[in-house]
């Protein structure tokens, strides 16, 4: 098919097959939701065994359906409504493909594709699970899929046709035509939906009526995977906002951002409390509750984004019918799970006993802080709605509120983390555990103090952030060294430490790096706004910038006004920068492309504006210290999660080992 040609007829078959596969997957999901559940109840192996092939078939069918939709975007099949509304024949191929999920219908299909993917993975790798638990997990997972298949087929069908296909499409929102954002939704969805697996395990365990160490070990990899994906997805979105929106903010406390942040906080809490279940057989009912709530917040997130209830720049859909449908899904799953929880949680008797000062207690405090922080974000996000409904007040809750109300919890978390992670299980003496950390504390104080002395008359935010960063990073180093014991060959032992230990250290260090980055950026950004004349240098901070030229250029599907800026310091040139403002004629939309000179210590961020009457151009320059630390830290957290996920005990647990009442190791 040539570009620019509408292709309504010869691809018709693919699209219809995709539509058919979707409906068939719906039917399979209904079977998988019911039959294994009855089988597990009656102990009929044949009925339970339905779950495994059904989960596979469901995934393959949904993948076919998604593939057909992607194909429609690739060949620009303008007989499909979604393609017309979100694509254009002249769009670069990458964004044709990402256009598949850059719209409501396609993104919901991606959502359910991931639900079935996780279901299939649980079926394929869940050989070690007891058969009844496995049947129930897969049935619950399938119930979630059924709800979303119904949602897609009845309210958001991407395969709806146009009788008369138009000649060309209306283009994807140009803001979304960006590599950072093209892959932001799939990662977020992998995270959101990954938590459905934790939910399914929790509900299955409640039906089963037992939670033991083995359960903790099974649920943790899924939570960990979901959390890794959420981390990457949130970081990508934040990075995109930073370079694309044109003023260098990285987090706006927008309802849609909060929607992804709340599940992240709860997933972080959950993967810590699952450790306590696994190692110490305590905190069982709390962990179950967290697993239910974490997925609940994923559903709330989907609801917020898809209903447009709390409209924001991200909320693409403004259709009440869809909102009510998702609300009903949410009410059913949360209500059902919580009722089941109140009926059954009492039976989850804790076994492990531990002292007031112990690793267990530290993890309880971790969970407390993360859960309350999540609650604060939740209340802040919903408050404008609640205040209008119940108190007749129209008000806003913006970044200044969240910065003030949320940050203290993260500071507290950062302060206790290195202490908690060196405390031994069961029973500990706080003074003894903290003794090795004395140098770390002094070092962190020195770093914070240095930052305080070097800045003049500004807030405590920067020094505090650097203190926390140094405290966390060097704390993990000391902890790793401690694990190697004394004597010779400590380096060798360090290398042979379990991957989970490395993962923990890397992720905790990453949190410190991110905290330092956020504080540094927020406290020490310098900005400059001026009308720059071509050829006249100007100073910002210790840098000199010269606007040498401005040209009108043409991109594949946009027009660009490009500025050419020379960045130099102490007389020597550092970089040539080309800030642009673009105009997308099809969508009739302008965008800003900031020019950024990246550096580990600082970013120089240049934005070009309009030409002024006197011939000069508006130029905005920001010096942003430590910005990249934020995303390096996120990458480290994700890497830590991956290391942990690849730990031997999960591979063993996921393998074919037969279930036994007594967990190994």
């Amino acid at each position: 098919m040539e570009r620019g040609q509408p292709a309504p007829y010869n691809h018709g078959m693919t699209t219809e097959l995709g539509h058919f596969a979707l409906i068939l997957a719906f039917a399979v999901a209904i079977v998988q939701m019911i039959v294994p559940l009855i089988g597990a109840h009656k102990r009929w192996p044949g009925w339970m065994a339905v779950a495994e092939p059904a989960a596979g078939a469901q995934f393959v069918l949904t993948a076919l359906s998604f593939g057909a939709l992607t194909w429609a975007f690739v060949v620009s099949d303008f007989s499909l409504n979604v393609v017309v509304a979100n694509s254009h024949s002249a769009k670069p191929m990458l964004y044709k493909i990402s256009g598949t999920w850059g719209n409501h219908e396609g993104s919901m299909l991606l959502w359910v594709l991931i639900v079935t993917l996780f279901g299939a993975m649980a079926a394929w790798f869940g050989g070690g699970l007891p058969p009844t638990l496995r049947a129930r997990v897969l049935a619950v997972q399938s119930a979630i899929a059924v709800a979303f298949f119904a949602f897609i087929i009845f309210t958001s069908n991407p395969f709806l046709r146009l009788e008369v296909p138009p000649f060309d499409g209306q283009d994807l929102n140009p803001l979304l035509q960006d590599p950072g954002l093209a892959f932001h939704p799939p990662f977020l969805y992998l995270g959101y939906v990954g938590l459905s697996m934790a939910f399914s395990f929790a509900v299955a365990a409640l039906i089963e009526g037992r939670v033991d160490a083995a359960w903790g070990r099974w649920v943790r990899p899924w939570t960990l995977a979901a959390w890794i994906f959420l981390t990457i997805g949130i970081a990508l979105g934040s990075w995109w906002a930073y370079y694309e929106l044109g003023w260098g903010g990285f987090w706006f406390w927008d309802p849609v951002e909060n929607a992804s942040f709340m599940p992240w906080l709860l997933a972080a809490a959950l993967l810590h409390s699952a450790i306590v279940v696994e190692k110490r057989e305590s905190l069982k009912s709390w962990t179950i509750l967290l697993a239910i709530l974490a997925f609940g917040f994923s559903l709330i997130g989907t609801f917020i984004v898809r209903s447009g209830l709390l409209t924001s720049v991200h909320a693409f859909a403004n259709d009440p019918e869809r909102g009510v449908f998702i609300l009903a899904i949410m009410a059913f799953f949360m209500g059902g799970a919580l009722v089941l929880f109140t009926l059954r949680a009492g039976a989850m008797e804790a076994k492990g006993v531990f002292g007031l000062v112990s690793r267990e207690s530290a993890l309880v405090v971790n969970n407390l802080l993360l859960a309350v922080a999540c609650f604060v974000v939740f209340v802040g996000t919903m408050w404008p709605l609640l205040a209008e409904m119940f108190f007749d007040r129209k008000l806003s809750v913006g970044p200044p509120f969240f910065n003030a109300a949320f940050t203290p919890f993260m500071v507290a978390l950062g302060l206790i983390l290195p202490v908690g992670s060196v405390l031994p299980w069961k029973r500990a003496r706080i003074s003894r555990a903290m003794w090795p950390l004395r140098y770390v504390f002094v070092l962190a104080l020195a770093v914070g103090g240095l930052a305080f002395v070097m800045q003049t008359g500004r807030s405590m935010l920067g020094p505090m952030g650097l203190f926390l960063g140094a405290w966390l990073v060097s704390g993990t180093v000391v902890e790793l060294m401690q694990r190697t014991g004394r004597g010779d060959n400590r380096l060798g032992r360090l290398r042979r430490l379990p991957r989970a230990d490395w993962g923990k250290a890397v992720a905790h260090g990453g949190l410190g790096v991110t905290m330092a980055g956020i504080a540094g950026l927020t406290a020490w950004t310098v900005d400059d706004i001026r009308v720059a004349q071509i050829g006249q240098p100007f100073d910002v901070g210790s840098y000199t910038l010269t606007l040498t030229d401005v040209q009108e250029l043409r991109g594949p599907n946009y027009l660009s006004t490009t500025g050419f800026v020379t960045l130099s310091k102490d007389g020597s040139e550092i970089a040539q920068m080309t800030p642009e403002k673009r105009f997308y004629p099809v969508a009739q939309m302008p965008t800003t492309e900031a020019a950024i000179d990246y550096n580990l210590l600082r970013d120089v961020y240049v934005v070009i504006g309009d030409q002024q009457d006197n011939g000069g151009w508006t130029v905005r320059t920001y010096i942003k210290p430590m910005t990249n630390w934020i995303w390096i830290g996120c990458a480290l957290m994700a890497l830590g999660g991956l290391l942990s996920l690849s730990d031997r005990r999960f591979r063993v647990a996921a393998g074919a080992r037969k279930f036994s009442a007594v967990p190994a190791e």
Partner: protein
Amino acid sequence: MKRFALILMLLASPLAAVQPDEVLDDPALEARARELSKGLRCLVCRNESIDESNASLARDLRILVRDRLLAGDTDAEAVAFIVDRYGEYVLLKPDNSGANWLLWGAGPLMLLLAGGAGMIYLRGRSKAAAPGDTPLSAEEQARLDDILKE
């Protein structure tokens, strides 16, 4: 969709935020104006402060803030002046009047509540039994017997 496109246009228009001609000569006053602008909402945008926004209304508000500061208002007076005219909707950081204490108290109250519950739980756990005297479950006992017999 149209409204959405409009919002995006306001959001993404290249002439972002504070314009050079708005900047005050006195750097101290300008710094105060920027700080105040960050706490005031652009009324026609979504979740944006007037400092970041490029809507013309945001520009008017920025100029208004600067005028008030030039006229000798304190920060609080300048904000009050704007809230009087545009309502509390412009405040990105809601005050703590009336029902708003629920918003501000949500975190601390929840922390107290959860902290209390956590404390009771932890005390229970640490008192439940001394280490070593946890009885074996029937299953474990059976398994132990098996092992001993072998």
